[in-house]
Symmetry: C2
Subunit: 605 residues, 2 copies
């Protein structure tokens, strides 16, 4: 998180850009939002006399250095443009004017351009902007200005007191959703979210946290005055701002200075104060910094040998191994910290252990173990360089301790490994972990959908990037319903015929209009009796950072209206060589089965 808030000042009229910028910067702001064309310069391109108005369109590009244009100025498209007017002349004129303004902002190299949505009837505006985006290589972003409540819903209801029925506020998120869907979910679009005096329901605010909100617009009219005469925000508005700070948003201050005795700088100072006084992040958030919404391929520890660095990260987890230690009561296990946890546990419990076999298939990790044995453990530990599935054990064990769980529980093939290893477990022996369960929930995230799409690889089919799960620190997203249990495994598995294939159908109730982009996956595990680890949001083991959630993409973003059921199905498939998942949505839209036959992704056995 940057040390201070990036705060911009919205300017409605800018006769001289140099003096405007100077005054804005002097008041502590980082940039200014300025009309691209003077508000009075409404143009007429059709058969009007005004068509041939003389003089330049707007100020010259020579007013500022190109460095200042690209650092200090966000351009605002003229508010009189009505691209979706039913009136032909208004619409056509707006189209030409928009193109002119967009083209000039690209010429100036502005970092961002603001376009305002006034309702959901925005298809032509979307088409025109989309065309501009496809026509320019300019690294410009487009901030789509959307209010939290529509102008209509912000009106004072006192005037219409007669009306008995309560007005259902218009859902401004739908405007944005329509707009960006038409633009094919372009990554060039961000949201400039206007915080309104009245706030929508909390769930509707939550949904914005799943959108690419780049900046929030705060009006001076939202501010109260504290005892010392300074502008401050209400608790509710503070809370809203703080929730968006998590997305590293910028803030744009709009409106006239209502505390001229204190100066406009007070607003900026207050907003920065809110930023600075955010509660410090919990250890997991701290650990995850920089990994937010970053897609990683799940580990394949059976097929690949993990690198030392990977172990190092995971071995720092302060919680995982202490819980393993709590769960432990005997001998047999893997890798350094696990062996250490086992030895510590036996000491604490004052139990004598005859032998610990540390069975490790990664020959590089074996070197670490052998060194540790020589340096610390001595004869108590015997290091075995072998895949546990193929080890010919000299004696049967009382306990098998393993750490083979992935973000989706079984996805690093713990079931197959432990089934293969239980040959050398005594009949009354136990396994740590003794059971684990995976969970899924539908998820909305425009950001992650864009990320899926850019995973597209040259030699693969266009759908393959949607046919593999990703491990990801979920951040700019919304979980749309409580996660539900998917697959469970327990060890040792004494079934006559062991079958680790699975199939589950899950049904979720959706409480707000939304778009489903994928399925968020989690797991929990019973190590032994009441000792559990969990990465489910509701029961997450505090401070444990060894696992980020897993994410199963869906090929087609699907709009779902509130009250609708979302039904998904998922399979765990097993052959001699591979394990993989297939999944899809069945309701409200039936999508094709993803990853059929493991064509885009398998986990090697």
């Amino acid at each position: 998180m940057p040390p201070r808030l990036s705060c911009g000042r919205d300017v409605n009229c800018c006769p001289d850009i140099n003096s405007t910028l100077e005054s804005v910067c002097r008041s502590g702001f980082d940039f200014a939002c300025i009309p691209v064309v003077h508000p009075r310069l409404k143009r007429e391109f059709l058969n009007d006399p005004a068509k041939n108005r003389p003089g330049p369109l707007t100020r010259s590009d020579l007013c500022l250095s190109s460095n200042d244009w690209s650092n200090l100025v966000v351009g605002k498209i003229s508010p009189w443009l009505q691209l979706d007017s039913p009136n032909y002349k208004v619409r056509r004129n707006s189209e030409i004017a928009l193109q002119q303004e967009l083209s000039y902002t690209a010429h100036l190299g502005l970092p961002a351009v603001v376009l305002q949505l006034e309702n959901g009837n925005c298809a032509n505006l979307a088409r025109c902007l989309n065309e501009h985006i496809l026509s320019t290589y300019c690294p410009q972003q487009y901030w789509i200005h959307v209010p939290m409540l529509s102008a209509e819903d912000q009106k004072d209801p006192v005037l219409e007191e007669e009306e008995e029925t309560e007005r259902v506020p218009e859902d401004t998120w739908q405007w944005w959703n329509t707009f960006r869907s038409l633009c094919d979910w372009s990554k060039k679009l961000d949201v400039l979210l206007e915080v309104t005096a009245d706030l929508p329901e909390d769930e509707m605010i939550q949904r914005w946290l799943a959108e690419p909100v780049k900046a929030v617009l705060v009006s001076t009219s939202l501010f109260l005055t504290n005892k010392k005469g300074y502008p401050v925000l209400s608790k509710a508005h503070q809370a809203v701002l703080r929730s968006f700070f998590k997305l590293d948003v910028q803030v744009v201050l709009t409106g006239v200075d209502r505390h001229p005795d204190k100066g406009i700088r007070c607003y900026q100072q207050y907003l920065d104060h809110l930023w600075q006084t955010q509660p410090s992040p919990d250890p997991v958030t701290e650990f995850a910094k920089g990994f937010e919404d970053y897609l990683q391929n799940p580990l394949q520890p059976l097929m690949d040998n993990l690198e030392s660095h990977t172990y190092e990260i995971f071995e720092k987890d302060p919680v995982k191994y202490s819980e393993y230690q709590r769960g432990f009561d005997g001998g047999g296990g893997w890798k350094g910290p696990l062996v250490r946890a086992a030895i510590n546990a036996t000491k604490q419990a004052d139990r004598k252990v005859k032998k610990i076999y540390a069975v490790e298939k990664n020959p590089n990790a074996v070197i670490t173990l052998e060194n540790l044995r020589d340096e610390m453990w001595g004869h108590l530990v015997e290091v075995v360089s072998c895949d546990m599935r193929h080890w010919d054990a000299p004696e049967k064990a009382d306990i098998i301790i393993s750490e083979l769980l992935g973000s989706f529980g079984d996805n690093e093939l713990s079931p197959e490994c432990l089934d293969g290893a239980q040959r050398f477990l005594k009949d009354d022996g136990i396994s740590i972990p003794s059971a684990y369960t995976s969970y899924l929930a539908p998820l909305q995230s425009a950001k992650l959908y864009s990320e899926f799409r850019i995973q597209k690889e040259k030699d693969k089919t266009p759908e393959s990037c949607f046919e593999m799960p990703y491990v990801v620190r979920l951040h700019n997203c919304q979980i749309l319903a409580e996660p539900q249990k998917v697959f469970s495994f327990h060890h040792p598995n004494r079934d006559k015929v062991i079958d680790n294939t699975r199939h589950a159908s899950l049904e979720f109730e959706i409480s707000e209009d939304c778009v489903v982009h994928g399925l968020a996956g989690y797991f929990d595990t019973v190590l032994y009796k009441d000792v559990v680890l969990s990465i489910l949001p509701s029961t997450h083991s505090p401070g444990m950072f060894s696992w980020f959630p897993i994410l199963f993409p869906l090929r087609t973003p699907t709009f779902v209206t509130k009250g609708t059921k979302v039904v998904v199905q998922i399979w765990r498939r097993v052959t001699e060589k591979n394990v993989w998942y297939e999944w899809t949505m069945v309701q409200p839209q039936t999508l094709p089965i993803h990853n059929p036959k493991g064509r885009s992704y398998t986990i090697g056995l």
Copy 2:
């Protein structure tokens, strides 16, 4: 249409395949549907004693020649399989048995295999079949057996007379729709549609006509007995069969012979009689034979010079030119039949014409015109080899006659050509045509969706095949709502600034659950006063075959529930060099704008 009906016989038990086939063929049938495995041979693959039952699974492949296997036998998957049973053992056992049976049908080289759907809970069956399809190169089709009404809805309601509320019949089309959506709209899937004693509403039957129905299953129990003691179908069942005959379906007869005195052959003869006595097709259908659902790229007569063959086809149209003749009253025009129609019209009206300028931009067509002039027309006609937009006319004309209309009216750039030519039209001159209008309606067609997908070209983006319109004789499809007006043009165009860009938003009410795959396009034109041509289904000029409809694809098949609004938007875009359309669906799902910036398709000016 084949001279006779292809009719198969459904066999439930087949102890000896040779004698079965002999008797089936002797009774006039073309093939038999036979269980792949004897119904009694239910297998048990899990931990059951029956697992190791000795003996072969089923009859040997040596019973028949491979030619007979691949021509006479359609395999039926065992009816006891329940791939979506909640019972683990039943489901798992079914999975293994299904794979075994499918694998054996591929080994035998059967042309088709029947799988039955008993409800919409079919995700696992879909997954298993889909996996088989992706695993085999066998050119086998899979006939998904679906009844028109569910078993539940076919029960005699007398038993439940108490119930006041009328039962809403289950929509079996949904079963199929779920199944094939899960299988990603595989072209390997066909429908074997079971005609039931009670029939669903007509709209529900219509919807099946938009599906790949390969065969209909007719039970002997549906037959009545006529005065002579022969089996016949009711009028309603006859009508249903006849409507499916349009799709060139096969018929499969199931059930025991209920007229043993006449022999099973009577059923086949009756069904073939229905086939033979179909009303002969109208001239347009006759002309369109072989072009059904075949995607063609729209002509680009401005950019390309059409071939003689293309003219020849269109010049055979018995209606188009007689209407042009009716519309005509003066001089100035193009190409052979049009000039001929003009001359004929002046003669019939007994009007004297000073001069006809035949302006033609295709130099090859000019040769035809010059020959016609020398042979027939003489000095009345002056042939001008020139693009009408650039012709420097020696005098102004009273009438401009043109034939520049495409399937969507303006899509061969008639507006741009005629605007360019009206310089040499007198102030009170007229244009034939004087106006034209395009129309659109949402369309469902699994067949056409599959066709779009295989248009995918190597060097283009995966979506480009969905971003161009196709000219197509619509056949295996359903128009989901009345077509609505889109764009209108009139000539001459006396606007100060001529703007041929257009934008339209259309809203359709959908009356049955359906899937939208694209937008069907049509046009009509006023040649002059009350003389019109139309390719709209409701007002189609009888016998005119010059234009097939146009079809705008949609990238994502979208399931729409009845009573829902479908909103689509379309733009006509014009630059100096090109014209193109952009289009999309906005409700109930918002799809990306198709063909933005004309990236996948433009029409050259």
